[in-house]
Amino acid sequence: MTPELGHFALILSLWVALAQGVLPLVGAQRSQPQWIAIARPATTASFLLVAIAFACLTWSFYINDFSIAYVAAHSNTQLPTMYRISAVWGGHEGSLLLWVLMLAGWAQAVALFSRQLPDAMVARVLGVLGLVMFGLLAFVLLTSNPFERLLPAAEEGRSLNPLLQDPGLVYHPPMLYMGYVGMSVAFAFAIAALLAGQLDAAWARWSRPWTTVAWIFLTLGIALGSWWAYYELGWGGWWFWDPVENASFMPWLVATALIHSLAVTEKRGSFKNWTVLLAIAAFSLSLLGTFLVRSGVLTSVHAFATDPRRGIFILILLAIVVGSSLLLFALRAPKVSLGGRFSLLSRETLLLVNNVLLVVACGAVLLGTLYPLIIDALGLGKLSVGPPYFNAVFVPIMLPLLVLVAAGPIARWKQAELGDIVRRLWPAAVVALLAGIALPMLAGEWHGYVALALALAAWIIAAIVLQAIQRLKTGNPPPSWWGMQIAHFGLAAFVIGVAMVGSYEEERDVRMSPGETVTVGGHTFKFLGVEDVRGPNYTAARGSFELSKDGKMLRILHPEKRNYDSSAMPMTEAAIDAGLTRDVYVSLGEPLEGAAWAVRVYFKPFVDWIWGGCLLMSLGGLVAAADRRYRLKARTATKTVATGAMAA
C-alpha cells in the first residue's frame, strides 16, 4: 500500500510541477496576477507530494519491505537502522528521488523567504524551478521508478555495499545534493532576470544569499566526501580526481567565481552578463555531473549501475535545460547595460582575473575528465587521465589566484593605486618570504613546492591580519566583511594542509608480531594482538595497538579487518588518532604466519587542516550570508533602491 501511495504522490507531483512551471511563467510574461499567484501554492504542493513519496520509500526501507525491487537490492534485515535509512539514497533510483526532494525543498524555501521580492520575479524563479522539477520527475517515473515491485517478494535483501555502511553515507550525499541542487536557485534567478529583461544590482542582491548558502553546502558536501574516503579506504589518500569527484568540484569552482561575480554586480552594477553566464554554467555543470555519474559514459568508483536508456534521457534533459538557457542568454545579453566604468587596476579587474582563473581551472578539469571519451569517440584508442595530469595542470593555475586573494580585498573599487596596495601589503610579503624559507626547514626537509605553498598561505593570512587591524580602527565591519576574511583564511589553512601532508607524510608497511613496535613521524605503535569480534552484520579481526609518543602512552587504537555476512570482500577499517597538527593512522593488512600480521602505519602532518580549511570556508560563507542587509524588507528595499539610483 505504501509504495503505491508513494508512486501516486510522484505522479501527482509531476503534474503539479508542470503547473508550477508553466502557469506562473506565462502569468509573469503577461502580467496576470492570478496566474502569478499560483506560484507559491503550487511550489508547496509539489514539495509536499515529493516529500510524501520520499517518506513512503524511507518507510519501506525501515520496515524491510522486500517486495520493492530497490529495497531488496540495497538493504537487508541485518543492517543497522541508521544504514537501512541512508540506504534509501545508496542506489540510483533513491538518490535521484533525493535529488528531486532537494530541488522541491529549495523551491519551497524560495517561496517562503522571498516576501521582499516582487511577485512577478518570484513567480518566474519558482516557474523555472518547476520546469526543471518536471523534467527530473519525468526521468524518475519513466526510467528510474524507486517503487517498482519485485514479485514474488524476496526473502532477504541483498544488503548495502560494506563500503557504504558508514556514517559518511548518512551525511555526505544529502549535504552534497543540497549544494549541487542548490545551484538551481541561482540558475532560476538568472533565467528569471533574463526573461524579465531586468538584470540589475537588485537582482544580484536577491540572488546572492541563495547562491552563498548553496555554495556552503557544496563545500561541506565535497569536504565530507573527501574525509570519508580518507578514513574509510584505508590508504590515506583524500582526493583522486575521479570523474565523479570532478563532477562535484567543477560546479564548486564556477560557484566560487559566481559568488565573487555577484558581489561586483551587486555593488557596482557591472559584470551582469558574466554573472548570469556563470549562474547558468554552475547548474549546467551540476546537471552534467548527474549525467556523468549515471550514464556509464565514464568509469568511476562512484558510478551507479547504468542503463543506456537513462543516459539518453538525462542527456536530452541536459540538452533542453542548458540549451534553451544559453539560447535565451544569447538573445538577451546584448541588451544588458554594461554598468559603471573602472580602470585597469581596480578591485573589479582583480575579481575578473580571479574569475578567469577559476573558470580556466574548471575548463582544465573538464578537459581532463572528458579527454578519454574524446579520444575514444574519435577512434584514436583508449587512454587514461589520472591524478598526475590534474595535479600538474590544476596547481599552477591556482597559484596566481592565491596571490590575488590577499590583494583583492585591499584594492579599491573603480580605481586602485598600485602604490597604495604595495604600501598596505609589504609586511605581508615579508612574512610570506620568511615563512617560505623557515617553515619547511622546521618541518623536515626544505622542498620548493612546500615553501611556495606555505609562503602563499602566510601571505594570505598576514594580509587578513593587516586588514583586520586597520579596519577595526574605524568601527566594526559588517558580517559580510568578516565572512570574506574567514573564508579566505580557510583557503589558506587548506593550502597549508595540502602542502604539509603532500611533502611530509610518512608511511611504513611492516610485519608485526605481538610485542613488536614500529615508529613513524615520532610516534610509536606497539602491536598488542588481534582478537575476533562479532558486529551486527559482520565478523572482524580486531587489532589492538598502543600508541605512544616520546615514551608517553597516548591511547590504544583498534583497527579492524571485517568480513561482512553479505559480502565476500574483506573490509579494512583503519584506526586514526586525529590531532590538530597531525593524524596517525594504522590499518591491518593480511594475517601472516603465526600471530603476525601485515600492518600499515601512516603519519599525516596537518591533514585535518584540509577539511578544517573547508569548514572555515563554509563558516565564512555562513557569516556573510547572514548579513542583515540581504534580508531587508520590501519598504526598506524601496528606499535603498531609490538612494542607490541617485548615487549611480
Binding site: V301, L338, R341, V356, L357, G363, Y371, L383, R511, M646
Partner: protein, 152 residues
Amino acid sequence: MKRLLALVPAALLSFSLLANEAAPLAEDPVVEQRLVHIAGELRCLVCQNESLAGSQADLAKDLRREVRGLIKEGKSDEEVKDFLVSRYGDFVLYRPQVKPETYLLWGGPFILLVAGIIALVSYLRRRNRLVPDTPLTEEEKKRAADLLKADS
C-alpha cells in the same frame, strides 16, 4: 647456580634491546619504494579506479610482482612503463604520454589561460571605450555629501 648465572647475560641482552622493532613487510625496502612510486602512476585494469599500487586485485598483485622483478633487473622507470604499455596500451598510464593525440590535453589548459587573459584585457579596453565616464555634477556631489552626513 651456574644455570642462573648463565641466564644473566640473556637478561642483560633483553634489557639492552629497547623494544622489538618490526621488520618491513617488503623484502627490499628500496625496491619497494620505487615500486610504489611507479605503480602509483599506473592504473589497475581490473577495478580501473585504483592505482596499481593500492589495488588488491589478483592481476594487480601479479603485475606488481612483474614490476618488482623488472626493478631488480635494473630497468629504468621508462622501461617499466614501456613493458606495461606494450601489453596493455596507453590505458594503463595515469599520466598520459605527450604525443600528437594528447597535445590538446596537455596544451589545452595553458591555451585556455592565455586565451582567457587576452580576452580579459581586450574586454577591459573595449569596455573603457564604450562606457562613458560620468563624473558627478556639483549638485550631485552636494547631495551625496548630505546623504553621507545624514547616515553617520
